[in-house]
Amino acid sequence: MAYKIIKSQCTVCGACEFECPNAAIKFKGDTYIIDQDKCTECEGHFDAPQCVAVCPVPDTCVPA
């Protein structure tokens, strides 16, 4: 149960990084990536995955 970021869609704005309650998102190389081990899909924290809710490009943060 984790999310991933579609690199070709990502604008590299970083909003997901500071909304992630698990610190699972980091800037690496030239894009943001989600640490699959840390991602909980925000269960127990919020109603919806924060990265999906804040991302400006549809279908960029998607289930891995």
């Binding site: 604008t11 704005c13 909003a15 909304e19 919020f46 809710a53 400006p56």
Partner: protein
């Protein structure tokens, strides 16, 4: 690209200017009837706060430059006129950048620009996302730049959603100017502009999203005003959606104590990939913008000289030297040298006095004119307050309204440059004619016979008889010559 006026040209006023200055001394000596954007319509304290900020003072924008550093890419709302995937060096509009910076790079860039561009007076953070939502980077950049260049004014632009959370820190950092973009005070109208906002850990849509955004914007505005921070409200004019409604927005933000209201046209093109671009939503014509601005004049002070610049723009308004200062062109280490900025400031202080005097002289000239029409005059200028650019080199015209009551700046109109290497561009000419809709006369430093004749055919007069005059004085002299008795002193 408009060029910065050189220190040399500022130090050596033309003889025309000297004559006008002496005319001013012998004529209207009153200091209480200054221009609408000079010290006359505001307290000395307020003038002191805005006189070097090109976006907050029309008068200042002739002399001072701003730079934006694009350190804040993250945003917490979606606007229908914005596409966050868009990055183009040739595109000039808010939200667009070519190069994002971290605070380290931003500090280096600011110092490099301050050393090269003596006109620099303001550092702004306007995205490309939201400066308040991406607060950590905004704050670090401002704090570090302030240590290096303490007299640089700090300024930020925000959609307002996260603003109330940071007002106290904004006040602590002595950020004296904050711009909030408010496009609607009716959530039903807002819903047509904002598809969603991200607030309190969830995405809100529809009318509810706009209601939350509006509440936060109004709260932020009140909090800033309570702390005596100057607030400019930006509104994007979207025909058929919020154009008529902006009159209400103007009233509301005036009531809340906004210092300045800036109504700017929607920039919309399918190629931008924005929602409005793709749905064919049009932007307003220059005359529609002017008509709306005229309607709300008398409300909150209006900004009419906005160039809707990019989130990484560098230079005086209307030009962008950002491409000269990309990170790969900066030296390894830079250290700030205040000498050029200081010298420029002392020169400008003198020149501004002269410019103000010629504005008074222009008023005296117009007093001679009776029963003349209200006209729009387009001026080709490269800055410094003078008619000093060739018609064919202009990438924008500054438009002034002239009547026996005075000369007032009403806006600028961007055009495609007509002349490239000695010959005119047909396509560009047609565009210029369209852009100059409503304008009766063009004043410039030089114009060829061919374009002059062609303008004449479509009912626009053009003249280079007032080349290098101060703008207001040149317009007044031209107007007096056309419609009144020309005073003997006016010939330059």
């Amino acid at each position: 690209m408009a060029q910065l006026i050189s220190l040399g040209s500022l130090k050596a006023p033309t003889s025309a200017a000297k004559m006008r200055a002496s005319l001013a001394k012998s004529g209207c000596a009153s200091s209480s009837c200054g221009s609408s954007d000079g010290p006359a319509d505001m307290s000395p304290e307020m003038w002191e706060r805005v006189k070097d900020h090109p976006c907050y003072s029309e008068e200042a924008h002739h002399y001072f430059a701003r730079m934006h550093v694009a350190v804040a890419p993250a945003c917490n709302i979606q606007c229908n006129y914005c596409n966050r995937k868009y990055d183009c060096a040739n595109e000039s509009r808010p939200g667009v950048v070519s190069e994002r910076l971290d605070p380290d790079q931003a500090v280096k860039k600011v110092i490099a620009v301050a050393n090269e561009v003596p006109q620099l007076s303001v550092l702004g953070i306007a995205g490309p996302g939201d400066a308040c939502y991406d607060w950590r980077k905004t704050k670090e950049t401002f704090e570090r730049v302030s240590k290096e260049i303490p007299d640089l004014k700090l300024c930020l632009s925000t959609n307002g959603l996260a603003l109330p959370d940071y007002v106290d820190e904004i006040a602590d950092m002595a950020i004296d100017h904050v711009t909030i973009t408010i496009n609607a005070i009716d959530p039903e109208i807002g819903a047509k502009i904002y598809p969603w906002v991200f607030y309190d850990h969830r995405r809100w849509t529809g009318v509810e999203a706009s209601r939350i955004l509006l509440e936060r914007q109004m709260l932020g505005l009140e909090m800033l005003v309570a702390r005596d921070i100057l607030v400019k409200v930006n509104s994007v004019m979207i025909p058929g959606i919020n154009d008529a409604h902006l009159i209400e927005v103007n009233k509301a933000v005036k009531e809340k104590g906004a210092f300045l209201h800036n109504i700017m046209p929607l920039i919309s093109d399918p190629a931008h990939g924005t929602h409005f671009g793709l749905t064919g939503q049009r932007g307003p014509t220059p005359m529609e913008v002017k008509a709306l601005q005229d309607k709300v004049e008398g409300g909150t002070k209006l900004m009419r000289h906005c160039r809707q610049c990019r989130a990484d723009a560098v230079g005086i308004l209307g030009e962008d030297r950002g491409q000269e200062f990309t990170m790969d062109q900066l030296p390894e280490t830079v250290s700030y040298d205040p000498a050029r900025r200081e010298e420029y400031r002392s020169v400008v202080a003198t020149v501004r006095g002269e410019h103000a005097a010629t504005k008074e002289a222009a008023k005296a000239d117009l007093a001679e004119v009776r029963d003349a029409p209200v006209l729009l005059v387009a001026v080709a200028t490269r800055g410094g307050g003078r008619i000093n650019l060739h018609f064919g080199h202009a990438q924008e015209f500054q438009v002034f309204e002239v009547s026996p009551g005075g000369v007032t700046f009403v806006g600028h109109r961007k055009v495609e440059q007509y002349c490239h290497g000695g010959h005119g561009e047909e396509r560009a000419f047609d565009g210029i004619v369209e852009t100059l809709q409503g304008v009766s006369t063009v004043l410039c430093a030089k114009i060829g016979e061919a374009p002059k004749d062609r303008l004449e055919k479509v009912g626009i007069k053009a003249s280079d008889a007032h080349a290098f005059d101060w703008i207001e004085a040149g317009i007044a002299a031209w107007y007096a010559a056309e419609y009144g008795t020309q005073p003997a002193m006016l010939t330059a």
